[in-house]
Amino acid sequence: MTDIAIVGAAQTPYQRCRDDANFAEMIYEVTCGALADAGLGISDIDNFITVSNDFWDGRTISSMAVQDACGSSFEGGRNVSTVEGDGTFGLLYGMMRILSGAYQTTLVVVHCKGSEGNMRQITNGMFDYIYTRPLGIEAIGAAALQARRYMDSYNITEEDFAHVSVKNRGNALRNPHAQLAAEMTVEEVMASKPIASPLKLHDLSPISDGAAAVILAHRNVADKLGRKPVWVKGIAHCSEAHFLGDRDLAEAPALRDASRRAYQMAGIKKPFAEIDVVELYDAFSYMEPLWLEELGFCPRGKGGELARLGATAFDGPVPVNPSGGVLSAHAVLVAGLARVIEAALQVRGEAGERQVEGPVEFALAHGINGPCGQSHCVVILGE
């Protein structure tokens, strides 16, 4: 349990190309949305965190180009700091700044447009420039290596992954923010265009544009706001080695570590029994079962069974990605904070058509950054 609550949130709809809005316009949209959701004005916010990536924005210090839009320039300027990584890392940093004692509230904003740059060149740019980048490897190729390694280590099949795509794209039909939503069959996923073996078109998340914002508040003020606070019950972050070759891609020890520390903070001992809904960063279909294994929802190598047997279905015992997940909209960096927002809506009981059945005591949100989930952040939310 922490002393920090989420008291407001907003996200844009996710689209392949938001050419009607630039970064500042998207950030202004979600900032106003989050303030309205919280019932606060910009003068109530005393700290700001902006999250972005310089390669995607095509400029140095991209995070400092949205200050007017997020309100940190209000009245001559408030404290603003920045994170280059997933939106969940920005959430963690925002919490830390409140816990320093210097601030009562924090607005965390994140933006990304996959449509404006060259996705393959930009994700190629995250690799070591001497030993890995010249091979041409980028996000999809690296993910394909991980999927292959995971399959071969535990006899998991491409069909197991296809069940995840079917579930999440189907769930997205209930989410007005989602970009890709469809009733599909496992056969359709299996027959989709080969991209990088074993991954096919429908195993991949789309290229998306979008932005999101979350307002955090300390216990001292959170209880006094009109909006019912959603408490951060536990949170932890962990990162693996930089070189892909230093990792066994069939495992995600950083996620194991982060989740165990977040569970301990929240007092969770049996995640499958105690957590009511999960929103995780499924940039590729295979990631959902792999992440669920490392989150302790099933034994190692059994992740493939979860979606196949319906355990993670919208009406299953632990709905995973009832929003449609990242497979249905993938504004990079934004997607992790979107998971937090979706989890918070579930705790509030305000997720609309995608609200899962029964009370949500604990909701888990998860963000990643880097190739094949190099860094993970696990957030446990509750009433």
Partner: protein
């Protein structure tokens, strides 16, 4: 606004760099260029052998100061046959598809080396296959990882 009233600006950004390979990188790339040898280094504490060789063993935070010669053969630990076009960062040209990324454990090494493999039929690839480095000719090796042209399957 109407779609046709929205303005977009197309700009190609050229950002040249001159990256230092560093001490261990220079030792490794020089051996690749001059002797067709693949070098790694070994952590004195956990005995883990790394390729590429580097300044510190992350888990032990100790300098792996013993440079070791690795075999040019190894085992295929992962692979992907890639079917989408890509601008080759080396040439600036579109790379012909398909091509295959490989995740290779060289004999005598604990970490995996990422490289290319000259087999593009997924049906003819499986984990555990033995592979061997194919080097560029003496005249074409310039001291970079691509002095290894690719790996080939040897069984």
């Amino acid at each position: 606004m109407d779609k046709d009233e929205l303005i977009h600006l197309h700009v190609d950004v050229d950002l040249p760099y001159r990256w230092a390979a560093g001490r261990y990188g220079s030792i490794m790339l020089k051996a690749l260029r001059d002797e067709k040898k693949i070098l790694g280094n070994c952590c004195p504490q956990c005995n883990k052998v790394y390729v590429p060789p580097r300044v510190v063993c992350g888990p032990c935070f100790v300098a792996p100061d013993e440079v070791v010669e690795l075999s040019d053969t190894g085992t295929l630990a992962g692979y992907s046959v890639v079917n989408y076009p890509f601008i080759d960062p080396e040439t600036g040209q579109k790379r012909p598809v398909p091509y295959t990324y490989a995740y290779i454990q060289l004999d005598g090494c604990d970490s995996y080396l990422s490289h290319l493999i000259d087999e593009t039929d997924p049906a003819r690839l499986s984990p555990g296959m033995r592979v061997k480095a194919v080097f560029r000719s003496d005249a074409d090796r310039v001291g970079r990882l691509q002095d290894i042209l690719h790996f080939k399957i040897i069984e």
